[in-house]
Symmetry: C2
């Protein structure tokens, strides 16, 4: 069998990774994509490291057993906790995460190398982004903040308006310059890295409250660039046009279709979603 004809496997704890799938589909329209969202056990972001590793390995095993040529971990929390374990367990295929690409995007965007990272509780506590940015740019100053409520807000579809801006203000006001708060100072972060795949949905609300000099970057686009580069490097691009997208969920396909549409920015038919047990 020609390995290059297999789909790219994409794993996420839920539906946030669909923001990565969307970017992948734009860059690689001929590739088949097989997405697994472990919605029965989401959110991973409030769980301990051992639990996250255990769940991520089980999900990856499912995708590998179904046949994928590459594994993309489109979940910041799972990448931060489990990437080394995944690479050890599935050495036969490339395993890419979102943390390294996100760190690259933030370092490239920042002029003063003072970067604020927002993510789930587990990602911030594990320090993976802080370490990845420091490896790329040892003189960088990094401020981390867990924004726990952003995940359920995005899943509820509450993405803008005064309430969402108020919640964003409460999380961000003491780590970033806000709009209308006087002069720009060199000591403040000039870049906000969205270290969770749910957070791009709340980007407009954050933009409205943050000072204009703050750049907002996320890892979805950069991760998709890395996947495309890896396919070229390994000569693993699909030989004939495909472009089929399939979705697996561990719970409630109807909810996956409804909330998933928010992340994809287009409607997602329930018929393309299969329920699986891990």
């Amino acid at each position: 069998m020609n390995t290059a004809a297999l789909p790219i496997g994409i794993f996420d704890s839920g539906m946030g990774g669909l923001t990565v799938l969307k970017e992948l589909a734009q860059r690689l329209p001929h590739e088949d994509l097989l997405y697994l969202g472990d919605t029965a056990r989401l959110p991973y972001g409030t769980k301990g490291q051992e639990t996250i590793i255990r769940y991520t390995l089980k999900a990856a095993r499912k995708l590998v057993d179904m046949g994928v040529k590459m594994l993309v971990v489109a979940c910041n929390t799972a990448t931060a906790a489990a990437l080394p374990s995944l690479r050890a367990h599935f050495a036969a295929i490339p395993v890419l995460g979102v943390v390294e690409p996100g760190a690259q995007a933030a370092v490239a965007a920042s002029s003063n190398k003072h970067i604020a990272v927002i993510a789930t509780e587990a990602t911030i506590a594990g320090g993976a982004y802080q370490k990845a940015i420091a490896r790329l740019c040892p003189e960088a100053v990094i401020t981390g903040r867990a924004c726990t409520l952003f995940v359920p807000l995005a899943e509820e579809g509450w993405m803008d308006g005064p309430l969402v801006e108020g919640i964003a203000r409460r999380y961000l006001e003491d780590i970033l310059p806000l709009t209308g708060c006087g002069e720009k100072t060199h000591n403040e972060p000039d870049t906000l890295l969205l270290g969770c795949t749910h957070f791009p949905l709340l980007q407009d609300a954050m933009r409205n409250i943050l000072a204009p000099q703050v750049r907002i970057v996320d890892s979805a686009a950069t991760t998709a660039d890395c996947v495309a580069a890896e396919l070229r490097l390994r000569k693993m691009a699909r030989p004939t046009p495909g472009g089929e997208h399939r979705f697996l969920t561990t719970d409630n396909p109807a909810r996956f279709a409804r909330t998933g549409s928010l992340f994809l920015g287009q409607s997602l038919a329930e018929g393309r979603i299969s329920l699986v047990d891990l």
Copy 2:
């Protein structure tokens, strides 16, 4: 072995059931209590019925194997989905849920028998409260509303202030009379039933926005009354004073201790919490 000397087992998807444990401890200070919170897989409230039943049976099996004389399901979502399955699987011991006691409390509190129920998405969609209230009071008018963000808000410890009141207003303004909204009408609910064990933590914020004639009731106190009555009826009260409280969690005891303290209203030592795998 004297069965009456065993602890009462309390199950919840996470930490919300500690509001029930607190009421039980006040009424039954001599009873040992063994609490299991399935924090690794919370929240149950956004999952499908089959998944909730499967997880609840596994958790109950753990408590029964450890030895409990009664099982209290201190989780509205699990009660609504899984109580009949639990009673079928564990017929040797009494199994009590929170839905029936909550419905009793609401019917007793309401003068006009128009009751608003707020709960998780799964509880509202399953209709368990609507059915339980209708059984007790067939002429009751019941309005249900899923308040998905209340769970993460309570767990984040954001329990009052303008943001929380704003979120409560968005969920409640079209189902209940708000403060300062003119005359009382007979057509509106006069009782709000909190159909999720997390929601009592946000009660002050709801009180601030709701018209004064709206009574707020929850199932914790009534459930504890039912447990006490059941112990008397079955002559299962503990023969000698105990009063030990132990806690089991499926993830991250440190987080359980921190968030659990919010629900108990007093500090919870991490040393009393054991990690278990289901």
